[in-house]
Amino acid sequence: MFKSILRNTSFGLGYLLLCLFLGEMHPFSLLPMYDSFPNWAYAFYVSDKQDNLLPNNKHFTIPAMDLAHNYYTICEDQKINTGYERETKEELNKAGEIMLEKLLAKRANTLTADTIQLHRICYSLEGDSVIAHNTIMYERAIGK
């Protein structure tokens, strides 16, 4: 019985141990999805100068969720501490510039705005309400 269980699980257990040992090195991963719930969460969107939303599906090839992942990678690379809106204006500006550059590299022809803005929304829980705080990270004029 024990031998059979061991034979049926040893390959998976080996993979599990390698993941714990190697961490994030594809095809190994610790899968840290929703492993903690801090009292903040960021989301990012692009708008024109009048704050009219420019939907990602219509104008860009990068979805909003990937844009957020991109933000954390840039911040890690730039040694910027993230969370609880502790990032400085300059840090947000720098990260926003890189994010917009990537976004515009693969934009659709539908984008007609002269100037676009990248916004960060910070959600947090205050009492029993979810509060959203909007910050303009970066703004730039775009050629048509």
């Binding site: 095809p27 899968l31 599906n57 979805p63």
Partner: protein
């Protein structure tokens, strides 16, 4: 009882079961690879294998032709069951390169299990190559099942490591994640109904903390004890449906869709294409074949 168990085991080592599983794997894997290749522009934040080797030439105009050709040829060999050691190795290596390169662009699809199950199949065929008495018909599937089980267990370990036993108590703060995910849908589509729906769900998460705690505890236990699914075939299918229900629940509550992690799980734990084919054949033989026969 023993006979029934043996029948169950036999069903999962038959050629039709394996062909349906392979078709499902390719059907899931190819679109993910194509999306990742199209989204990768350079390698600004190298991770994994991209830290060691530059794969940028593969992403040039000529390189992409080679990449697409390699994907196509590997898939054809894999589906036709030709030179399986090489075919599975090729699929595994291509998967690792494409996903690592994509991650090196700052995107995270959480697709580790997608490459790992191909690596598991390569492993099974490689052992069989050197040791012909090795039961490759069983382990080319069973190794993959173990990889999926390990992935879910890892996800549970990550939660316990980061937050401890109190992970399920954070139902209120979960509402922030709900708002974030529904705002992604709003930013992608421009449809404000997603924001309204997200606000409603977030509010009910705050109002029903105890229910959320029970659901989160259930999800955590399901993930933590996922290795139970590899011990018994029936339990694996039951576990597959339970995990699928969990993913659908997460999709409905959090609006993040049934992610990549769940797709190989459905294929390896349930293999729905096989059962759909069986059902189709039964319907055909019962109704249509009878009509055709004079």
């Amino acid at each position: 009882m023993k006979e029934q168990s043996a029948n169950n085991r036999d069903k999962q080592t038959t050629e039709p079961y394996w062909v349906c599983l392979k078709l499902s794997v390719v059907f899931i894997w190819i679109p993910v690879m194509l999306i990742m290749i199209s989204q990768s522009v350079a390698c600004p934040y190298p991770v994994g294998i991209c830290k060691l080797i530059s794969f940028s030439p593969l992403y040039s105009a000529v390189g992409k032709i080679f990449l697409y050709a390699a994907l196509l040829v590997s898939c054809i060999f894999y589906l036709l069951e030709k030179r399986m050691v090489l075919a599975t190795l090729s699929l595994f290596v291509l998967s690792c390169i494409i996903i690592s390169y994509h991650e090196s662009n700052g995107f995270f699809f959480r697709a580790a299990s997608l490459s790992a199950v191909l690596g598991a199949q390569f492993f099974a065929y490689a052992i069989h190559y050197f040791k012909p008495q090795f039961d490759v018909n069983k382990f080319r599937i069973h190794f993959g099942v173990q990889i999926i089980a390990a992935s879910y267990t890892l996800a549970a370990i990550a939660k316990l490591k980061a937050t401890g036993m109190g992970w399920a108590d954070e139902g209120g703060l979960f509402s922030i994640q709900v708002m974030k995910n529904y705002s992604y849908l709003y930013y992608d589509t421009g449809s404000s109904s997603f924001l309204e729906h997200g606000t409603e769900i977030a509010r009910s998460f705050i109002e029903h903390k105890e229910l959320v705690k029970i659901l989160l505890t259930g999800a955590l236990l399901l993930e933590l004890f996922c290795f139970a699914a590899v011990i018994n075939n029936k339990l694996r299918v039951v576990y597959g449906f339970a995990l699928l229900a969990m993913h659908i629940g997460i999709d409905m509550a959090m609006g993040i869709g049934v992610g990549i992690i769940s797709k190989p799980m459905v294929v390896f734990f349930i293999n729905p294409v096989y059962y759909i084919c069986l059902l189709g054949r039964k319907i055909y033989s019962k109704f249509l074949a009878a009509r055709v026969t004079p």
